[in-house]
């Protein structure tokens, strides 16, 4: 990875030396939250993001640097620290070379597959960073995904666009350490990793447009980002297993609405079971509806997933998820209010609700206040954070370079 970064930095210097065009932008954000349940604790986070693009001819170098100064974080060893500390992350650094009918990108990057929001049926290439349960980035998923080194080749035909992806280095979902606000209930920590991963992740996407409908098809083979916990030689170890999937997406207008969907079948999804671990086929489908009318935006989604031949020890083979989001703008998009509801039902139901009010008092300034609440049983996706309901306030200043 270091070699790639050094090479790309060298490319940056080379491009800059050739009187390339340079553009940059970013934001500074200061956020404060106060938990309304549990210990009534509070937290503070300052964030700075800087994006840059250097272009020369058919070459482009993109980078995204994120720095945070926050009250709760985990260090490199996954240990909780409860004091204000600074950390930074060169999230993206990739070089693009584009021809008339092809393009390749090389470097640390992210790729978003699928038509779903919040629910990632086919968005499998970049694991999530769940240290804060995506709360700061639920409206900006590009910061919620963990980026990784990838080589991407895209070929543009008359009726079919193809994307080939190779990602040599695996990454796992990043969880909050024990004791943190959003630590996952019952997740073992500090285990040895059993990771003999000889093959890179590989993916293919084909994209076409038929009679007003966007159609995408996906193939993927790679490691699941969610580790399993298995006993080997009398010891509990953390293990990543491979999974393969075939998927498809579509989107098309229908009157005032846009109808969209994802469909996926995993041939062998790694699954934690009461007995240990298993590989179980699973199918899932998502249907979404979007409406934008005057100053209203409505977004509805429902997903269903079914595990085929799941072991009897699993209480339920079929799971449901749903979301509803409504956004209203006033005063020419200076004032807005939104509400988001997320629902999950595996064995039991759980919910998350976010309500917010935003205002732009001046150009490039944005103030937002809101409430986030969780409900459900202690072992459910959202209910495990039932004591983390919170009020928040944040101010953001965007800038250009």
């Amino acid at each position: 990875m270091r070699t790639v970064l050094i090479g790309l930095l060298g490319s940056l210097a080379g491009l800059a030396a050739q009187a390339a065009t340079l553009s940059g932008r970013g934001h500074l954000e200061d956020g404060y939250h106060h938990d309304t349940t549990g210990d009534s604790s509070s937290g503070h986070r300052v964030e700075a993001l800087l994006e840059s693009r250097v272009s020369e001819g058919n070459w482009t170098l993109d980078s995204v640097l994120l720095g945070r100064y926050r009250s709760q974080y985990d260090d490199a060893g996954g240990k909780l620290e409860d004091r204000m500390e600074f950390d930074q992350d060169l999230r993206e650094l990739y070089l693009t070379w584009a021809g008339d009918n092809w393009q390749w990108r090389l470097g640390q990057q992210q790729i978003a597959w699928g038509r779903g929001d919040y629910f990632r049926l086919v968005d499998v290439l970049n694991p999530l960073d769940l240290r804060e349960f995506l709360l700061p980035y639920i409206d900006d998923y590009s910061l919620g995904r963990q980026t990784r080194p990838m080589a991407v080749v895209e070929i543009y035909g008359d009726s079919l666009e193809q994307q080939f992806v190779v990602a040599p280095k695996t990454r796992t979902t990043r969880y909050a350490p024990a004791g943190a606000d959003f630590a996952i209930t019952g997740r073992p920590e500090g285990l040895d990793e059993d990771d003999e991963h000889e093959r890179p992740d590989i993916g293919w996407r084909g994209k076409t447009f038929v009679d007003g409908t966007d159609l995408d098809f996906y193939l993927f083979d790679g490691l699941s980002p969610d580790p399993l916990y298995v006993v080997e030689e009398g010891q509990l170890v953390e293990q990543q297993r491979r999974r393969s999937l075939v998927g498809a997406s579509f989107a098309r207008p229908a009157g005032d609405w846009v109808v969209r969907g994802d469909l996926v079948h995993l041939f062998n999804e790694p699954l934690q079971t009461p007995e240990g671990a298993d590989d179980v086929p699973r199918s899932a489908a998502l249907l979404g509806l979007d409406l934008t009318r005057n100053e209203w935006t409505v977004n509805l989604q429902a997903t269903v997933s079914h595990r085929h031949g799941a072991p009897d020890s699993l209480q339920r083979a079929t799971g449901w998820e749903a979301s509803a989001a409504v956004l209203k703008d006033w005063s020419r998009q200076r004032l807005n209010a939104g509400i988001l509801w997320l629902y999950n039902r595996d064995v039991q139901s759980s919910h998350m609700v976010k309500a917010n009010l935003g205002y732009r008092p001046w150009n490039q300034w944005y103030l937002e206040a809101g409430y986030i609440g969780f409900s459900g049983g202690q072992l459910t996706q959202y209910g495990q954070f039932d004591d983390r309901d919170r009020l928040y306030l944040q101010v953001r200043r965007d800038f250009s370079l």
Binding site: S142, Y156, G255, N294, S400
Partner: protein, 260 residues
């Protein structure tokens, strides 16, 4: 006797006059006027709200003709909270009676979203222009009546009234009636008054026109909002025609990569 001769003259000339000045033909001429095979524009949207708040957005726009179809790419370059956002539009021949296809790229999601185009009366990025105002004109949305010829801003113009067939709002544009001032020689709309339910709600005015590379080009226009107050000026700081733009500039790839 002189009155009778004048009346006879008008009577004789009327069929020719009516054919030459068919308002629907005039509007088709506006829609189909020569704007080159493709073009690139640098634009600013300067919005002044009723309370004096000013917001400016800058964008690049590429357009290319494909026979009677047109593809356009809009790419926002400023301010920073909008920069990177892109819109791709495919407009089909009016005879196909097919709605445009539109896609919106949101850099925060790294995703391109499909947009419904059935209704275009909503504001374009919160400005006083609607999506219908910026799309390629659809002549068949209205029935036309030539009201008069006059001089407007030192230019000879046709003043044409446009009404929906049933007198109600056009469900796609949100307008029931328009009063359009068309430059007779340049085939440009110099002024457009928009009505809903018999009430004028917006006024479009061209403020600056120049010939660029042989093509008449609107360099500055203004849409005034008569209901909420405020206005949005559309300023074209650069225009280039017939650049032989490649098809890759009119694809989702262009939205992600940006255009220059």
């Amino acid at each position: 006797m002189r009155i009778s001769l004048l009346g006879l003259g008008l009577l004789l000339s009327f069929p020719v006059f009516a054919e030459a000045l068919d308002p629907t033909t005039i509007m088709r001429g506006v829609r189909d006027r020569d704007e080159g095979q493709d073009r690139r524009s640098e634009l600013s949207l300067v919005q002044t709200m009723a309370d004096g708040f000013v917001r400016e957005r800058k964008l690049l726009m590429l357009e290319k003709e494909y026979g009677e179809e047109r593809k356009s790419t809009l790419y926002f370059t400023a301010p920073s909270d909008t920069a990177g956002t892109g819109i791709l539009m495919h407009s089909y021949a009016e005879a196909q009676a097919r709605e445009d296809d539109q896609w919106l790229y949101l850099p925060a999601l790294r995703k391109t979203r499909r947009i419904a185009t059935n209704s275009k009366e909503g504001p374009f990025l919160g400005t006083d222009f609607s999506f219908a105002d910026i799309e390629r004109m659809r002549v068949d949305d209205y029935q036309y009546k030539l009201l008069r010829e006059e001089v407007y801003q030192d230019r000879p113009v046709y003043v044409i009234e446009a009404r929906t067939a049933d007198g109600l709002e056009n469900p796609r544009t949100g307008y029931s009636q328009r009063l359009i001032y068309v430059d007779r020689e340049r085939k440009l709309i110099l002024r457009d008054e928009f009505f809903r339910g018999g009430r004028q709600i917006k006024t479009f005015e061209v403020l600056d026109v120049a010939q660029v590379e042989g093509f008449w080009t609107v360099n500055e226009s203004r849409m005034s909002n008569l209901v909420e107050g405020g206005e949005t000026r559309l300023v074209r700081s650069a225009a280039d025609y017939n650049l032989d733009l490649g098809d890759q500039n009119f694809s989702e790839r262009a939205l992600r990569n940006g255009i220059r």
